[in-house]
């Protein structure tokens, strides 16, 4: 696995996706390097989730290419998925299994080998789920707790890239803040993170770079350090009107 900071872990080149008459992605070029959090902003239908689905191999590009750690997602989809951890808006787990059982299951599917339970429990603790919570059935978990299990799965998988689709949507501020902290920790370990969100504050708080999408196009890319909150909001609204 190439984790050189110079090479992008997630990359698209002239990526297009069309659904009938609708151009969901239009000539999208982006790259996310190791140790970087790239935040995609955009209104509903802007193409953010479509982009994530292309990286996951759930959608085939109409033209252009998407790469995960140098591999073309259309050529070697399964291998690409093994490099990625995906956290959707709502991490879906098996309700009749406990948190640790879910983690054991998904970690084994992700890595192809059975993992040591104590190590997995440590991952759960790392993301803020204590042992008592870990052995409870997931059907009793809050959304925030499920998201944490999702992060723990990513940790157990040792993925080089994280794809997050509106991960903080519906989380209370405390849970969202904890989640952002977990993302920063992952970034510090060298993971490339691509996250979609509507939450400008979350984007500003966590991202290394921000991209704004509108009607399938990546209309602008910004270094978050260059912008204050007010600027980002104004810029976002300006692009949405365009």
């Amino acid at each position: 696995m190439d984790r050189s900071t110079d090479n992008p872990i997630l990359e698209t080149i002239n990526l297009c996706k069309r659904f009938g008459e609708t151009q969901a992605l239009h000539q999208v070029n982006l790259h996310v390097k190791s140790g970087e959090i790239y935040c995609l902003l955009g209104a509903n239908g802007a193409g953010k989730t479509t982009l994530v689905n292309v990286f996951l191999g759930f959608l085939e590009p109409t033209s252009g290419t998407a790469y995960v750690n140098g591999r073309d997602v259309t050529g070697d989809g399964l291998a690409c998925k093994r490099e990625i951890a995906y956290i959707p808006e709502q991490v879906m787990l098996y309700g009749v299994l406990s948190g640790i059982e879910n983690l054991e299951y998904f970690a084994e599917l992700a890595t192809g080998e059975r993992q040591d339970r104590s190590r997995l429990l440590a991952h759960l603790e790392e993301v803020g789920l204590d042992r008592q919570a870990a052995v409870r059935r997931v059907s009793t978990y809050s959304k925030g707790m499920r998201q944490k299990v999702g992060i723990a799965i990513a940790l157990a998988k040792r993925a080089c890239a994280l794809l997050l689709d509106e991960p903080t949507s519906g989380l209370d501020p405390k849970a969202a803040s904890e989640f952002s902290q977990l993302l920063r920790e992952a970034r510090d370990r060298g993971v490339a993170i691509l996250t979609t969100t509507h939450d400008l504050f979350h984007a500003k708080q966590t991202s290394s770079r921000i991209g704004i999408m509108n009607q399938g196009r990546l209309v602008t890319e910004l270094d978050s350090q260059e912008l204050g909150n007010a600027d980002l909001e104004a810029l976002y609204l300006q692009h949405m009107k365009a």
Partner: protein, 462 residues
């Protein structure tokens, strides 16, 4: 990975109560039906064996009498119940098992070959086989209808696919979980069946064991089809609710409606006569043939007169009997062949309606199908002819030299004892397999087809 998916699925079956509740009920019912079948088989066999002995004893202990009177009394033969009747009674409850071997014509007292509704076409004797054939697929549906549609609804399928798990691995994991659950539930029944087969003393144990293994293979193929049909439908159904509705609809169509249509179709393609038609045609042909052979062999059609005195009665009986054998053989062969062709058509319809294939195969391996019955009926007829020929031969040897003492001759115990008791060994497994290989092939082809369909139906994304 497949095993891991299967194990997780299995844990879910247990924890959400589907396996313990529905499966437990299924397993208990199956064991009860097997136990009842075993009891029934044991009782019937001992009753029949006792009756067979008593009947032969009656034959041996007849008073001195005219041989033709003895031929009219005849014998009864009782079809031995195969040990695997406990699993599948097949057509036995419908075709009867006792045949009266009497003079002049093949008995059809207990086998009613020309009735409109044949044993081949009937449906629904409560037995272990019925449970497996009818309720087995329903149980698979209950366990598996949401296997993929439910996971898609919950979002766990997307989660799993995003990890780089191949859809085929998910499919086989789920299939393994369903198969494992079925195996677990069938284990007690299998042990009971093995014990039942092992305790058989009257039947070759190795033969029984092979039959039991083949039955297992047949049902594994059949339930395998049910598993992959369920998974294929669950994979394409947009929701669990629709998946359940589709599967229940398919179940009703394939195990309840289609077999009846198939029976009617096979009868239309290969019609068999009604009882009245069969008897009328047989009587007419017999009458015609009797006249013809009397003319040829005895020089007259007129029964008894100066041209054919009564002291040639034994000879005339023999001519009658042998002419009758040919006619009866022709008629019964046509009838049996019509049934065989009906069964064959149903076997091929089994490609679309697998319950037809497993039904035939199961009866065949249990030794309770039409072909086994035909073997028994033919063996009984051979015994009847032996009695007739022995009696006629004795009459010829003791023809009346005086011309007026035709009925005063009386044979004794030595003649009765010259007819051996009826011994019948049911055909071996090779016979059963030869007659049911199409069903086995159809089941295998059905399974492979549905595995292919399920593979194609598996979602690549969610």
């Amino acid at each position: 990975m497949i095993r891991r998916i299967a194990w997780r699925e299995f844990i879910e079956f247990i924890r959400d109560g589907r396996l313990p509740l529905v499966g437990g009920l299924f397993a208990v019912l199956l064991v009860v039906l097997l136990a009842v079948g075993w009891l029934q088989e044991s009782n019937l066999n001992s009753e029949r064996s006792a009756a067979q002995g008593m009947d032969y004893n009656d034959w041996l202990n007849q008073k001195n009498r005219h041989p033709h009177d003895a031929a009219h009394q005849g014998m009864h033969v009782f079809k031995p119940i195969p040990r695997l009747f406990l699993i599948d009674p097949g057509i036995d409850p419908f075709v009867g098992s006792t045949i009266w071997l009497r003079s002049h014509r093949q008995s059809e007292v207990k086998f009613r070959p020309a009735q409109d509704l044949t044993g081949l076409q009937r449906f629904g004797t409560l037995s272990a086989a019925w449970m497996l054939q009818i309720l087995g697929p329903l149980f698979v549906i209950v366990l598996g209808f949401g296997a993929l549609s439910g996971e898609r609804e919950q979002g766990t399928l997307r989660q799993t696919l995003s990890l780089g798990v191949a859809p085929q691995q998910i499919l086989w994991g789920k299939a393994l979980a369903l198969a494992g659950s079925l195996a677990l539930l069938l284990l007690p029944a299998l042990l009971l069946a093995l014990t039942g087969a092992g305790s058989a003393i009257e039947q070759d144990r190795l033969d029984l064991l092979i039959r039991l293994i083949l039955l297992g293979v047949g049902y594994a193929l059949y339930l395998g089809i049910a598993i992959f049909v369920t998974l294929a439908v669950s994979a394409v159904a947009p929701s669990s609710r629709i998946s359940l509705v589709l599967l229940i609809g398919l179940w009703i169509a394939s195990v309840i409606v289609a077999p009846r249509i198939a029976a009617d179709l096979s009868k239309a393609w290969h019609p068999n006569p009604t009882g009245v038609e069969f008897n009328t045609r047989l009587d007419n042909d017999l009458e015609h043939r009797y006249r013809k052979v009397w003319k040829e062999k005895l020089g007259t059609e007129k029964r008894w007169g100066p041209e054919l005195p009564l002291n040639r009665w034994g000879e005339a009986l023999k001519v009658d009997d042998h002419a009758g054998y040919e006619v009866t053989d022709e008629h019964f062969a046509r009838l049996w062949d019509a049934f065989a062709l009906q069964q064959q058509s149903q076997e091929w319809i089994g490609l679309a309606v697998p319950v037809l294939a497993i039904r035939g195969f199961s009866m065949g391996m249990a030794g309770t199908d039409f072909f086994h019955h035909r073997e028994f009926a033919q063996a009984a007829e051979r015994q009847r002819r032996l009695i007739q020929d022995t009696m006629s031969k004795d009459l010829i040897e003791h023809a009346d030299p005086l011309g007026n003492q035709h009925f005063s001759y009386k044979a004794g115990s030595s003649l009765w004892a010259s007819v051996p008791p009826f011994e019948y060994s049911p055909p071996k497994v090779g016979f059963a397999l030869r007659h049911n290989k199409t069903s086995l092939f159809v089941l295998l082809a059905g399974l492979l087809t549905w595995i292919g369909i399920a593979h194609l139906a598996m979602p690549r994304s969610a």
